[in-house]
């Protein structure tokens, strides 16, 4: 069976956190959906809190510590990404954004992404669509249509006629991600860090005359 690498980033600050809980549900569902398609999932879960100091240091020095570099490589070298954040003050958490900020802006191009968020009430569910989705769109990632928001109450309720129950939303989003992950060859790509831009000349356009 072929294998696809799924990276999961979760930026909940408490341990245990409901953000991690949602991330785990999304990861499990994606692995299940991949299995249906005949593909094994190799899931790597990254709790951003474990590299919080390293992320701040990277922002200041411009380079990642060995531990953070490993985490970054796990994310950028995956076939698909699940990104989950708590909603803080109407948006992704600062730690989540800081981690995104230390990534090479080109490194998520074409990446299939499933976005998820957690919050105390349903009021902030649109943060997924006005904050998370544009963030990944800017990075040229491919965000699946269904994003999953889990308010505290979602962990103990069935659907309410407007939204389906949380497990259904998780399953639908995971199905969408699995379909893209199957076709993703990102983890087997060889990236040349010294690739020169097309048409580059060491003497410039006019220098050789």
């Amino acid at each position: 069976m072929t294998t696809r690498k799924i990276a999961v980033i979760t930026s909940g600050l408490s341990q245990p956190s409901s953000t991690r809980l949602l991330a785990d549900r999304l990861a499990d569902a994606t692995a299940r959906q991949l299995e249906v398609l005949g593909v094994d999932a190799e899931v790597t879960i990254l709790e951003l809190r474990d590299t919080a100091q390293d992320v701040v240091n990277n922002l200041m020095t411009g380079f990642p510590s060995p531990k953070l570099e490993k985490a970054i490589e796990a994310v950028t070298g995956a076939d698909a990404l699940i990104a989950v954040t708590p909603v803080f003050t109407t948006s992704y958490s600062g730690l989540f954004k800081s981690f995104i900020d230390v990534l090479d802006p080109q490194s998520l191009t074409d990446m299939p992404v499933l976005i998820g968020a957690t919050g105390g009430s349903e009021r902030h569910s649109l943060a997924l669509d006005y904050a998370m989705r544009p963030l990944f769109t800017y990075l040229h990632a491919v965000v699946v249509p269904t994003s999953v928001y889990a308010a505290s109450s979602d962990w103990g309720s069935t659907g309410d006629g407007v939204a389906t129950a949380l497990p259904d939303r998780i399953e639908r989003a995971a199905r969408e991600l699995a379909k893209l992950a199957v076709d993703s060859d990102r983890s087997s790509r060889v990236v040349d860090p010294f690739a020169l831009p097309a048409g580059f000349s060491p003497v410039g356009g006019y220098g050789a005359q």
Partner: protein
């Protein structure tokens, strides 16, 4: 192997006593430090070019000209010449002039600047950073090598029959290094011309620079300047020393913790582990830097950053004494051990003149030989 000091010329408050030198004091201190570099037996003093406070060295040839008059053997270099925002015509003239003043003891290191606004301040666009570095240098090359230049480019007024003045000393252009932290284009450019490549080596882990230097070496060979092992590589470095390693750590920590760039970030322990910064005994510095050739290959120039982060002049001069007396003599021996014969020495004006003369002699000799055999 050449050893030396490079400085960014920051005016920084000494965190241990809250004293901030005036610009005048800092400039005078830099001039004192440069003279000390020769006194303790090192070969090179290199000065950055910046146009934003807290950095003072905006006019490198003024300072280097003064140092030239005060020293005998020291090679005067820039630790960045902004090839992007300076007019290459002015660079050609300023540094040819400095070459004459300093009797050839001059080389340059090309860089692209440390702050985004430096581009618009000089009427340029930061998005043209690499194209500016490429085109301006192509013109600079010609201005130093051709007596009359016709030129048309994208970024400056055309030139018709222009002669930059004075002509380079002995008809030989100053040696040029290209510095870059992450752009393969600049490594490619250095390799194309057979120029030197300098890796700042201060702020990032060595693995990063190892890849960049190895790329430059391969491309140097590709362009036919010699073997990869014969490419001209320079490295930066950073150290703080005391006889007793714990004293060095204790003395340097407040400067590290408050330093520009990395201060208030990683711990000194993490930073010394992850970058070439070495804080400890002279022997620790020797061990660390003697190992550099294992990672980068045998190289030509090692510069140390010693005078930043608000360190007082007295401390800097003491550090230079330790470096000159205890560290560099040992490093010289270490670097000389098993150094392959084909690895070039650090570049000097005399060597460049000799190389040019040898090439001329060879090109004159060849046709004569051909005639004889015909």
């Amino acid at each position: 192997m050449q050893f030396g000091i490079f400085t960014v010329g920051d005016v920084t408050t000494d965190p241990t006593n809250d004293v901030t030198p005036t610009e005048h004091q800092r400039i005078k201190n830099i001039l004192t430090i440069a003279q000390k570099v020769e006194e303790v037996g090192m070969e090179v003093f290199a000065l950055g070019e910046h146009h934003n406070p807290p950095f003072v060295p905006s006019s490198p040839t003024t300072m280097l000209g003064y140092i030239a008059a005060k020293t005998e053997r020291l090679i005067l270099s820039t630790a960045t010449t902004l090839i992007t925002t300076n007019d290459p015509v002015k660079i050609a003239e300023d540094y040819a002039m400095l070459q004459h003043v300093a009797d050839g003891r001059v080389d340059l290191m090309m860089g692209r600047g440390n702050t985004g606004p430096v581009y618009p301040w000089f009427g340029k666009d930061i998005r043209d950073g690499i194209p500016l570095a490429i085109e301006n240098y192509a013109l600079l090359q010609r201005l130093w090598r051709e007596d009359f230049v016709n030129w048309e480019g994208k970024f400056r007024t055309p030139l018709q029959g222009f002669q930059s003045t004075p002509r380079p000393l002995d008809g030989v252009a100053p040696f040029v290094w290209h510095g870059s932290i992450r752009s393969p284009e600049i490594a490619e450019q250095a390799a194309y011309y057979g120029d030197g490549f300098f890796a700042n080596n201060i702020f990032w882990p060595k693995e990063h620079y190892m890849k960049l230097i190895s790329y430059y070496r391969q491309r140097f060979e590709h362009y036919g300047h010699g073997k990869a092992s014969e490419a001209i590589v320079g490295l930066g470095g950073q150290a703080f020393m005391a006889k007793n390693s714990q004293d060095a750590v204790k003395q340097f920590r407040p400067y590290f913790d408050n330093a520009p760039v990395y201060g208030h970030g990683p711990t000194m322990e993490d930073f010394t582990e992850q970058t070439p910064l070495t804080v400890g005994s002279p022997q620790q510095v020797i061990d660390r830097y003697a190992s550099m050739r294992e990672y980068y290959g045998d190289y030509q120039r090692q510069l140390f950053l010693m005078d930043h982060a608000g360190l007082p002049l007295k401390t800097v001069l003491e550090q230079l004494d330790i470096l000159g007396e205890e560290v560099i003599p040992v490093l010289r021996k270490e670097f000389a051990k098993d150094r392959p014969a084909n690895v070039p020495d650090g570049p000097t004006h005399e060597a460049l003149v000799a190389k040019r003369d040898a090439a001329l002699a060879a090109s004159v000799a060849e046709p004569v030989e051909a005639e004889v055999s015909a």
